[in-house]
């Protein structure tokens, strides 16, 4: 197939899948088959693009102009390729997991759930392949809106409250901060195209540079820098597959992906290097890493702890990108992949625990590892990756981040990363310890359970295995990261 056709297919497959899924609402088996097939075809399209991109090609596609000079256009560059690979690949696993979870918990409105998921993936692919900031913005907003029904899936007052915060923060930041930043960029540079080396060089004063970077960084609320992180814990009212794929992978990675894109292709590393803007960003990201870890340390609800861990881990990417050294940039991009695999495993495990044992709090998990060895084994691997220990993928990305910070002599950054590693260990290891080394509490005997449904166990084992695999074979993400930095 022509590369252009592949790009178009990657965008249209999930879009076309949505109505198909909706059409099959009477037969759940057909509906879920369509979902899995759609995810497989999408992944196929994305993988077919990979050798081209690695070979140096940049397949591009331009659809139409919304306003004069503002086209909806796509261009597959290495970083977008990486994000698309992660999102589409994990969608397959997540679809499998969703089938087990939604059926195991007897959830309602399952058709709406699968339809919105397909649309969310279309949004994520649109963000990944966007050739300009305008296209990225359009799909960014689409992603916010189509995930709202997923967050509020249960339709309870709590879900409604969570949905309000979710929509309020994400729409609010993107409209109030990101949109003016985008329009200003367009006026200043005459384009919003992502160009290697940036488009704003020589067009901004130092103060404007700080202001604009702040607008972008807080405007991209999906990257969850403090204080615009509140939507992420609020989104945890959603069913766990949503938290797993969207709020550990697609949505939040769309956020940090946009951050990296803006830094590399809009501002350009040279423009930011040594400036106060990047310094300020380092401070905000460093603060977010530590503060979120402290909150996670105190959270007893497992999903809440994972959510704050995500907030903290996302800021690793922002921090590493803001260091602006090549090695730390590679670390940032690898961390997008590493964190995605690790965190989806952790969420899968949390959902499996909820489905099999109906437990949501960390303090209830004593001895659960004996009943659910696969689940908690995978959880342990995910936790290792979060802390950044071998043999998990998180180690590789952390290594590069640290190396980059050292090469740039950013010793505070090194200290922040090390301190947060300790904090990560502080809130993940006790869970593993409880699960495997503590005796089950008396009340746990009331409800006899084993592992979660098979589909879920397979899914979480696959992602855990992938987390380990990425440690040994980080070649593809590494190559893509290196290509991104080449001019």
């Amino acid at each position: 197939m022509e590369p252009q056709t592949l790009v178009a297919a990657a965008l249209l497959v999930p879009l076309a899948g949505a109505p198909l899924i909706a059409a099959c609402h009477r037969s759940p088996n057909t509906r879920e088959t369509v979902t899995v097939l759609t995810s497989l075809v999408l992944f196929g399209c994305v993988v077919a693009l990979l050798p081209l991109v690695l070979g140096g090609a940049r397949p591009a596609l331009s659809w139409f102009e919304i306003m004069p000079g503002l086209p909806i256009a796509f261009r597959v560059e290495p970083l977008g390729m990486l994000f698309a690979l992660i999102a589409s690949g994990l969608w397959i696993v997540n679809s499998l997991y969703s089938i087990g979870y939604m059926r195991g918990n007897g959830e309602s409105h399952q058709t709406r759930f699968y339809v919105c998921f397909a649309l969310a993936l279309a949004g994520a692919i649109g963000i990944a392949f966007a050739a300009n900031a305008f296209t990225l913005f359009v799909f960014y907003e689409v992603l916010t809106l189509v995930t709202y029904p997923l967050v509020t899936h249960h339709e309870t007052p709590e879900a409604r409250r969570g949905g309000r915060i979710y929509l309020g923060v994400l729409l609010g930041t993107s409209t109030v901060l990101l949109l003016p930043a985008l329009i200003f960029t367009w006026r200043a540079a005459g384009t919003t195209e992502f160009v290697a080396g940036g488009i704003l060089a020589g067009k901004l004063g130092p103060l404007a540079c700080i202001g604009l970077l702040a607008l972008y960084m807080f405007g991209i609320g999906k990257a969850a820098l403090m204080p615009v992180h509140r939507w992420l814990p609020a989104a945890m009212v959603a069913p766990t597959p949503v938290s797993a794929l969207l709020h550990a992978v697609a949505v939040v990675k769309a956020g940090v992906f946009s951050v990296v894109k803006v830094i590399v292709y809009i501002f350009g590393i040279d423009l930011l290097a040594g400036g106060a803007a990047a310094q300020g960003l380092l401070v905000v990201a460093g603060f977010t890493i530590l503060a979120a870890s402290v909150v996670a340390l105190k959270a007893d609800n497992l999903k809440r702890r994972l959510a704050y861990s995500t907030v903290s881990q996302l800021s690793y990417v922002v921090l590493a990108a803001a260091v602006l050294a090549p090695l730390s940039m590679i670390g940032a991009m690898l961390h997008i992949a590493a964190h995605a695999l690790g965190k989806i495993t952790l969420f899968f495990a949390a959902g499996a625990i909820y489905t099999a044992a109906h437990k949501t709090q960390v303090s209830q998990l004593d001895g659960i590892g004996r009943r659910m060895p696969w689940t908690m084994g995978a959880f342990a691997i995910g936790a290792l990756s979060m802390i950044g220990l071998p043999p998990a993928a998180g180690f590789v990305s952390k290594w590069y981040m640290l190396a980059g910070a050292m090469s740039a002599s950013q010793w505070t950054v090194v200290a922040v990363i090390l301190a947060s590693t300790l904090l990560n260990a502080g809130y993940f290891l006790p869970i593993v310890y409880r699960a495997f080394f503590r005796a089950p509490t008396a009340s746990a005997h009331d409800h006899v359970h084993g592992e979660a449904p098979l589909a879920m166990v397979i899914a979480l084992s696959v992602t855990a295995a992938a987390t380990v695999l990425l440690f040994f074979l980080p070649d593809v993400p590494m190559a893509l990261a290196r290509l991104t930095l080449e001019r």
């Binding site: 919304i66 109030v176 003016p180």
Partner: protein, 494 residues
């Protein structure tokens, strides 16, 4: 007779003749058929005129072949052809809808009156847009206003009478101000032809009576276009009028008043006079902002959806006037494109609400609880239009917002940029209230058996919702026409 050459006259004459015809025919079917035919013909004429203006420039039509400035001139330029298409297009969509809609709201013996008044109102609005004569504008304004009062008073709710009366009082005051303004201009220039008047005002723009005329016209037209704080008539009028009327008024009446304001500002006084001799820029800016914030906030506290969206209209008019206050190409483009964009969005919402009123027995937030389960299409349509009010990409509202922000950035007014985007976040709240009621609340007792509105109502509503998305993605028609019209206005008189 050469039909093609007389299209400008036919644009007004066709609906104007349809009105007395319906009274003679009496039968509701015949009346409907006649007015529908007239509206569709008017739409076709408007499109023909638009294409002709696009191809060969401004059309000047002399009524009775009397050359201006002695005779009355109909003048079709880019702006007026754009508004003509908008008004007649909305009428062409609303009329088919009105047949099933008023069958449920009005006693059958009054149906022909509805169509009479609708045709008159349409003729009046089109006349205001097409005429190049200042006094003619006033005459057509009165034709459209008087018929509007009747249309509102036809509402089923008895409060419609009060609303119509309220509008009658306010509208009459507005019309009086306008006629005083026109009179002053006539005294100063000795002509009523707008182009002629504009040329004669050149040397005497600073004269006190001219400025007084400007002030009178501004206040009078601001009343008609419901600029905050002269909007008091609007929420009740929209809330209690028959659904088809609410939709038609929301989409056209205020827009035509904005058109008249633009016409007087740019073609008669000239932007220099308006914005430099009087502090009009600041005044418009403050009132627009007040409208955007106060009316949006009030909308958040409404329990009745028609009132809620009526207040939202006042806020959206704030955006339209805000664009005008920039006195720049981007700002004026935003104003003009938002005329159409808001007309499509709000027209769509009010049409859908008419269906809601039929199926759910009312449009209060309490009535629409759980509506998404019984009327999924209607609910989704309102959500789409709501997104357009917020200004989400992919809808027409986004385009208008984009150009407003561009205009503010061009002026270097960052505080204004943030006020614009923050005010659009208030609309998230009131749209969110609808979403939460329709999607998250359990349906009330007895709602189970309800169904979607009849297809004849659903289709026209769906058409406007579709247009809301369509012109948000493929903007070359609306935005292209708007920016050309803005350039023409700015280029004309400086």
């Amino acid at each position: 007779m050469d039909v093609a050459a007389n299209l400008p006259a036919l644009q007004v004459v066709v609906p104007l003749v349809a009105a007395p015809l319906t009274v003679l025919l009496r039968g509701r079917r015949l009346a409907f058929a006649v007015v529908l035919l007239a509206a569709w013909t008017a739409f076709a004429i408007a499109i023909a005129l638009w294409l002709r203006v696009d191809a060969s420039g401004t059309i000047s039509y002399h009524i009775g072949s009397w050359a201006p400035p002695w005779g009355i001139e109909y003048r079709v330029d880019r702006l007026s052809s754009y508004v003509l298409v908008l008004v007649s297009g909305i009428a062409a969509v609303v009329l088919p809808y009105s047949w099933p809609s008023i069958a449920r709201e009005l006693p059958p013996e009054r149906h022909y009156l509805f169509y009479t008044m609708f045709a008159l109102c349409l003729a009046g609005l089109l006349g205001m847009v097409i005429t190049g004569d200042a006094f003619n504008i006033f005459v057509f304004l009165e034709i459209s206003s008087l018929s509007t009062y009747v249309l509102i008073a036809l509402g089923r709710d008895r409060r419609a009478l009060l609303a119509a009366y309220q509008y009658l009082i306010m509208g009459t005051i507005g019309a009086t101000f306008i006629v005083i303004g026109v009179g002053l201009l006539y005294l100063q220039t000795g002509t009523l032809n707008l182009v002629d008047m504009g040329q004669r005002l050149h040397g005497i723009a600073g004269h006190r009576p001219v400025l007084a005329a400007l002030a009178f016209l501004t206040v009078g037209l601001s009343l008609k276009l419901a600029l905050f704080p002269l909007h008091q008539w609007l929420p009740n009028a929209y809330a209690y009028a028959p659904s088809a009327v609410s939709s038609f008024l929301a989409a056209t009446a205020t827009k035509v008043a904005v058109y008249a304001l633009l016409r007087f500002y740019y073609s008669v006084f000239g932007a220099n006079t308006v914005f430099q001799r009087l502090p009009m820029e600041e005044l418009m800016l403050v009132l627009a902002l007040a409208g955007m914030f106060v009316a949006s906030t009030v909308a958040c506290f409404q329990a009745d959806l028609k009132r809620l969206f009526a207040y939202s209209s006042v806020a959206q008019i704030g955006y339209i006037v805000l664009g005008l206050s920039f006195d720049s190409l981007a700002g004026l483009t935003a104003t003009i494109v938002h005329l159409a964009n808001h007309a499509l969005t709000k027209g769509g919402i009010f049409l859908l609400l008419g269906g809601v009123a039929v199926s759910m027995g009312g449009v209060s937030l309490a009535r629409v609880q759980g509506m998404a389960r019984v009327m999924p299409l209607t609910s989704f349509g309102i959500v789409i239009c709501g997104l357009s009010l917020i200004g989400v990409p992919g809808t027409v509202g986004f385009i208008s917002k984009w150009y407003l922000i561009v205009a503010a950035i061009e002026k270097g007014q960052w505080w204004l940029v943030f006020l614009i985007v923050i005010s659009s976040m208030i609309s998230v709240v009131y749209v969110g209230r609808f979403v939460e009621a329709a999607y998250f609340q359990a349906p009330r007792e007895g709602v189970r058996g309800r169904r979607e509105a009849p297809l004849a109502m659903l289709l026209p509503s769906g058409l406007l919702v579709f247009a809301t998305v369509c012109f948000g993605l493929a903007t070359s028609t609306t935005l292209g026409a708007a920016s050309l019209a803005a350039a023409e206005l700015l280029g004309g008189m400086r």
